[in-house]
């Protein structure tokens, strides 16, 4: 990296003086061996070096210093600045011209190299920033993200607030680059806002198209819990109800309401998926934590099933949207509970392979005929045998994460639904 100009100048002049002094000593030692004027060329590398390292000013100083030193020390008459005879004049003139031109050219080389390095840095930083900003959809998170990227790329703490980017504590540093970066952040914020607005509009348009097919498909799923709730509410008014009966009816209402709530959640998710408006807000989690949380929440509601979890703890952490992956696992588990006989097992396993983590939810139920496996994830295909709504949501959310979801027969009977979530290479190595 180039040192800052303010610090460099005194060092450059000092180097020029020391270099000229050193070369003068060398010339003094060699004076008896060879031609005097030829030896003056030994100063040129000093001028060149100083100019390359410290730029034009110190380079010119080195050239003048060298000419003066040579004239004083070795010119005739010696130990005087006087110049005697045309040969001396020409020799000194040629030397001075050579030294100055060398210095100027070298300084130019240095300036260009410096500019190229600066441009390269700017291009690299802006490219990294652009990529990071493109990948983020939350308009409110962009400034914080830009701070992170710029600090990392520049190796200095950078603050981005209200459309202004600055190196913390050094307001002048990288000013041009940071002004461009700040403009980039503002443009990205505007783009993200527009995208969010467009997605909203898309949801509305799509929801219209969906409405008809949804109404048909879910009216059964809605009516069953509604019927149970209405019946329970009617019974709760009866005066001769025993307290335990009253409690049981209350629980029934809560259970059916939860069922309806889950249905509404899936419908909302599905309408977002259909509109392409699902944007996972990924954070890095140990997968086992998410699986354990879902199992702990659902298992008490399915006392007739045994849930086995085998997720290795040494699995690398996975970038995921907690709420969405929770939904995926919830739907898969509920599906398994609903479509397999009491007393059977449901296994959740996970393994790392080729840059993804593969999660499997396998049951030991009757399974699904091979020709129907592919249709399982269609929106309403399975609404009789296996409700496709939950699985369509699984597929949509997993794909929004950049993964894949599919079903296959479980060896030994039953159904295995698998999905993958991409891993982040740096997290796999960092393990």
């Amino acid at each position: 990296m180039w040192r800052s100009a303010l610090l460099a100048a005194p060092a450059g002049y000092a180097l020029a003086a020391v270099g000229v002094l050193g070369v003068s000593l060398v010339i003094a030692a060699l004076l008896s061996l060879t031609d005097r004027l030829g030896l003056s060329l030994l100063y040129i590398p000093v001028v060149l070096g100083v100019a390359v390292l410290y730029g034009r000013g110190p380079g010119v100083a080195a050239a003048l210093l060298a000419a003066g030193a040579f004239d004083y020390l070795f010119g005739i008459p010696r130990f005087s600045f006087a110049v005697e005879g045309p040969q001396e004049w020409i020799g000194l003139g040629v030397f001075l011209a050579t030294a100055l031109v060398t210095g100027a050219l070298s300084a130019e080389v240095r300036r260009r190299a410096r500019e190229a390095a600066q441009r390269e840095l700017e291009a690299r930083v802006l490219r990294a920033l652009g990529q990071a900003l493109d990948a983020e959809d939350d308009p409110t998170a962009l400034e914080q993200l830009a701070e992170h990227v710029l600090s990392r790329e520049l190796g200095q703490p950078v603050t981005v607030r209200g459309g202004v980017a600055r190196v913390a504590g050094e307001p002048g540093s990288h000013a041009r680059l940071l002004d461009v970066a700040a403009a980039q952040v503002e443009a990205a914020t505007e783009r993200a806002r527009l995208r969010a607005a467009a997605a909203e509009a898309d949801i509305l348009r799509h929801s219209d198209e969906l409405k008809t097919s949804l109404l048909h498909a879910v009216s059964n799923d809605v009516r069953t819990p509604l019927a149970a709730i209405k019946a329970a509410a009617g019974s709760l008014g009866a005066e001769d109800l025993r307290p335990d009966e009253r409690g049981a009816l209350g629980q029934l209402v809560e259970r059916e309401v939860d069922r309806l709530n889950g249905l509404v959640a899936n419908l909302l998710d599905l309408s977002r998926i259909e509109a392409g408006a699902v944007r996972p807000r990924k954070e890095v989690y140990p997968l086992v934590a998410v699986v354990d949380d879902v199992v702990a929440r659902l298992a008490p509601g399915a006392p007739d099933h045994t849930v086995l979890v085998d997720v290795p703890e040494q699995l690398p952490p996975v970038p995921l949207d907690y709420v969405q992956v929770d939904r995926v696992l919830t739907n898969l588990l509920e599906n398994a509970f609903r479509h397999t006989p009491s007393g059977t097992e449901v296994c959740i396993t996970a393994a790392e392979e080729d840059g993804v983590v593969r999660v499997t939810v396998a049951d030991t139920g009757p399974g699904v005929p091979p020709d129907a496996l592919g249709r399982l994830f269609e929106r309403f295909a399975g609404s009789v045998a296996r409700p496709g709504l939950g699985l369509a949501v699984v597929k949509g959310l997993v794909e929004a994460h950049g993964g894949r979801a599919w079903a296959e027969p479980r060896p030994g009977g039953g159904l295995a639904v698998r999905f993958t979530l991409p891993l982040e290479p740096s997290l796999v190595e960092a393990r």
């Binding site: 992170h148 890095v284 989690y285 140990p286 086992v288 934590a289 354990d292 702990a296 709420v323």
Partner: protein, 233 residues
């Protein structure tokens, strides 16, 4: 356990929800005040502060977030938020503004009662830090010596794990959003290390939870954050 006679103000624009909450809160021994919107709530609050506030986020006129902001400007009374699913961001904003807890509609009355009890019981922030030992279940933390024990057995935490535990155990039952934890543990800087917040929580659980696979004390609030849940006394 109830908090007999505690005055709870409920703010919700749905008359049915207000009616249901009035009945069940009253049944549990609370005195209930109700308001149908933010403006009414502020007027009522001006006449005297209740012991706790239950606020719906989607209110007409002055919305729930604004109400929380105004209340928090002058008061530290416990606030429990009612929100709908799919609104994690508003929920997080409410918590960042100073709400203590939330329940997601549709919620069960038992759940709301539990959260309300916990919020009422919690010592105001600052009180806890004066204590010499902070506890949650078998977990004990001595701020002076930075010693952490589980069932009396000392465990060794990394500085980040210690800070995470220290921050949360000082205010049991309070929901800490990801942002709060980043600010208090990492000093607010968005660093690569903070990327691993959830991994650090996982490691911390492995050290302090009796069964890390079924956390009882350091629990996840999905998509929102974490809280320390001490044993019910």
């Amino acid at each position: 356990m109830t908090v007999p006679g505690a005055r709870v103000m409920v703010v919700d624009d749905e008359p049915d929800i207000l009616r249901a909450l009035r009945a069940s809160l009253g049944h549990h021994g609370y005195q209930v005040l109700s308001a149908a919107n933010g403006r009414e709530a502020l007027e009522l609050l001006a006449q005297g502060e209740p012991d706790a506030l239950v606020v719906d986020l989607g209110l007409p006129q002055i919305d729930g977030l604004e109400l929380i902001r105004r209340v928090r400007a002058t008061s530290s009374l416990p606030i429990v938020v009612l929100s709908v699913r799919d609104d994690e961001r508003t929920k997080i904003e409410a918590l960042d503004l100073g709400a203590d807890d939330y329940v997601t509609k549709p919620f069960s009355v038992q759940e709301l009662m539990a959260r309300l009890r916990a919020a009422l019981r919690r010592a105001p922030p600052g009180d806890a830090s004066g204590r010499s030992v902070l506890r949650a279940g078998p977990i004990a933390l001595e701020p002076e010596t930075r010693r952490v024990t589980v069932d009396g057995r000392e465990v060794h935490l990394t500085p980040i794990e210690y800070d995470l535990l220290r921050v949360m155990i000082g205010q049991p039952n309070k929901v800490f959003t990801h942002r709060m934890l980043l600010e208090r543990v990492w000093g607010g800087a968005y660093t690569a290390a903070a990327h691993y917040l959830h991994v650090h929580v996982g490691n911390l659980r492995r050290k302090v939870e009796p069964n890390p696979r079924a956390p009882r004390y350091l629990v996840t609030e999905p998509g929102v954050g974490y809280r320390i849940r001490p044993d019910e006394p």
